[in-house]
């Protein structure tokens, strides 16, 4: 937005004639428009890629008929979807039925506001950027519950309840693993987090305190994958038991909005993982940061995010979906203790050399807690292993 404001003031007479609030509003609208274009055109590509990947993984060709290699297939599908009649079943709550998809899309889209595409290409460099992304995600959750309830359909309601329980549960390990990065960077601002990782592959937070941050990255990735309601965490819309979950009753454009939100959430979650652990817009080799004098940071961020989106799709066609109790087991008994453990250990490692400006006793408390937690974690792991072994034995018997 600052870049846009500077661009505006290049126009002769702009600063004198246009009030500050108007140019800020205009810059905000232009930035939002750019993000909106990126967000609404993206799924056309994602859906094609996803269907192709699905095809290749199942030894098929995927879409081939419309256009060369089926390239125009999703464009045709999009046009069909937009022109389809949006059917309102007789018993739905009309207002909420319409508001719900809007909330879901808004929640997904608002994440774009803080994604840093380059030092200047960022809609808003909030000081609480990382926290903002997490907070804004709750809007989508409310939208999902509203959609499920307003549909007045048992499958939709079950899907919404499952989805909300799942998102609320997985939000916690996601935030906890994010805290690890925030502690290392010493800031919640995404711009500052990327700035700490500049200067090449070896500076990425992924390698910091090896292998602790690799674990944190895996926890964050798994938790955000679950928040996107993607396989293997897609029981909210499991077609074999719930028809289509919370969007059972939606058709036409309203269905398209849920679709749009899902792919946007995937991109935002992947871009966040890239920003937090993979250096964001910083190039893996510093020499590749600029091409012909232009900063190609946006290309790097989008490439990293798309690589992670590919992993999302890859997992979808590789893993079966989890059962509800397994889902909760993974969130609360596996990911949460691991991320808590990481926070304490990384916190301990960060404060270990610092004695001058910290409290002298906090590192002792930190190490004591860390030792206690380690004992706890070891016993939990042993219990979880025994539980797992019993499940296997019962399944076999």
């Amino acid at each position: 937005m600052d870049a846009l404001l500077r661009l505006f003031s290049l126009i002769p007479g702009w600063d004198q004639n246009v009030p500050a609030w108007a140019s800020i509003t205009l810059a905000g609208l232009v930035a939002a428009g750019l993000c909106l274009g990126f967000m609404s055109l993206g799924p056309v590509g994602y859906v094609y890629v996803e269907r192709k990947i699905a095809g290749f993984m199942q030894d098929r060709l995927g879409p081939m008929r419309v256009g060369p290699w089926g390239l125009l297939q999703t464009i045709a599908d999009t046009i069909k979807l937009l022109f389809k009649e949006a059917i309102f079943p007789a018993a739905v709550h009309k207002v909420m039925f319409v508001v719900a998809p809007c909330l879901v899309v808004t929640g997904a889209f608002m994440g774009f506001a803080v994604l840093p595409f380059s030092p200047t290409w960022q809609a808003a460099d909030l000081d609480v950027g990382a926290f903002y992304v997490i907070a804004i995600g709750s809007l989508s959750t409310v939208g999902l519950i509203m959609a499920g309830w307003a549909s007045n359909n048992k499958y939709a309601l079950f899907g919404a309840m499952r989805s909300a329980a799942q998102i609320v549960s997985y939000e916690i390990p996601a935030v906890m693993s994010l805290i690890v990065v925030v502690m290392i960077a010493g800031s919640l601002s995404l711009q500052a987090i990327v700035g700490e990782q500049a200067g090449g592959l070896h500076n990425w937070f992924l390698w910091k305190f090896f292998p602790l941050n690799v674990i944190a990255f895996l926890v964050f990735f798994t938790a955000t994958l679950a928040e996107c309601n993607r396989t293997p965490f897609d029981i909210p819309e499991a077609e074999s038991e719930l028809v289509a979950g919370f969007h059972t009753e939606y058709s036409g454009f309203f269905f398209a909005m849920f679709f749009l939100a899902e792919y946007t959430e995937m991109f935002v979650a992947s871009a966040m993982a890239a920003v937090l652990f993979l250096g964001g817009f910083a190039a893996p080799i510093p020499a590749l940061q600029t091409v012909g004098g232009f900063d190609i940071g946006p290309v790097w961020l989008i490439a990293k995010a798309w690589a992670l989106v590919f992993v999302h799709m890859w997992l979808r066609w590789t893993l079966p979906r989890l059962r509800v109790d397994q889902l909760m087991h993974v969130a609360w008994k596996v990911l949460l203790p691991i991320s808590l453990f990481l926070i304490v250990v990384v916190g301990g490692l960060l404060t270990w050399p610092a004695t001058a400006n910290g409290f002298p006793w906090d590192r002792w408390v930190g190490w004591l807690l860390s030792a206690l937690l380690f004992v706890y974690l070891a016993t939990t792991a042993a219990r979880a292993w025994r539980w797992h072994a019993r499940q296997v034995r019962e399944a076999v018997a």
Binding site: F131, A135, K154
Partner: protein, 166 residues
């Protein structure tokens, strides 16, 4: 009218309007979802006052936690298939007394407090200061509150636990 005053009145309208829906609506679920606008409006007030961290906390805790729990509660306690959940006002008179009392108290506080006048402070990031205050000057109350919450959490888990002997 300055831009910030305009934003203030827009936010105030949203907060008061949706709060009125929460209180007056006969349908429980409408009340619950109207709370969304109330919470978001209050977060907007925090942004307007330059409290960025507090705004994000407001959104995360109230919209992401409390509102979803409320909606869950409404859906689980009543017949969830029923589109027509009714709120009942049985204790109108005591309720009015309590509301009037709270209103009088808040008005007295608002009118008697010597509010800081003059130009607002420079907008700056608040996160670091809040963190230092919590882990420095206010460490003991902060830890006491966390232990209280932990006890509440364990208590809740204990109450809903499936008992082996039962």
């Amino acid at each position: 009218m300055t831009a910030s005053a305009f934003v203030f009145w827009v936010l105030a309208t949203i907060v008061l309007g949706s709060a009125a829906v929460v209180v007056l609506s006969r349908s429980l679920i409408n009340s619950a979802f109207a709370l969304l606008a109330t919470f978001a409006g209050v977060a907007g007030f925090y942004v307007l006052l330059g409290a960025d961290f507090l705004a994000a906390v407001q959104f995360l805790v109230y919209v992401g936690g409390i509102l979803i729990l409320l909606v869950f509660g409404v859906m689980l306690t009543h017949r969830i298939q029923d589109l027509d959940l009714r709120a009942e006002a049985r204790q109108l008179v005591p309720g009015l007394f309590v509301a009037a009392g709270v209103f009088a108290l808040l008005t007295a506080v608002a009118t008697r407090t010597p509010w800081a006048q003059g130009p607002g402070r420079e907008l700056s990031a608040t996160t670091a200061d809040i963190g230092r205050a919590f882990l420095g000057k206010y460490l003991l109350p902060f830890e006491a509150a966390s232990i209280l919450l932990l006890v509440a959490l364990i208590g809740a888990a204990l109450i809903v636990r499936k008992r082996e002997d039962a």
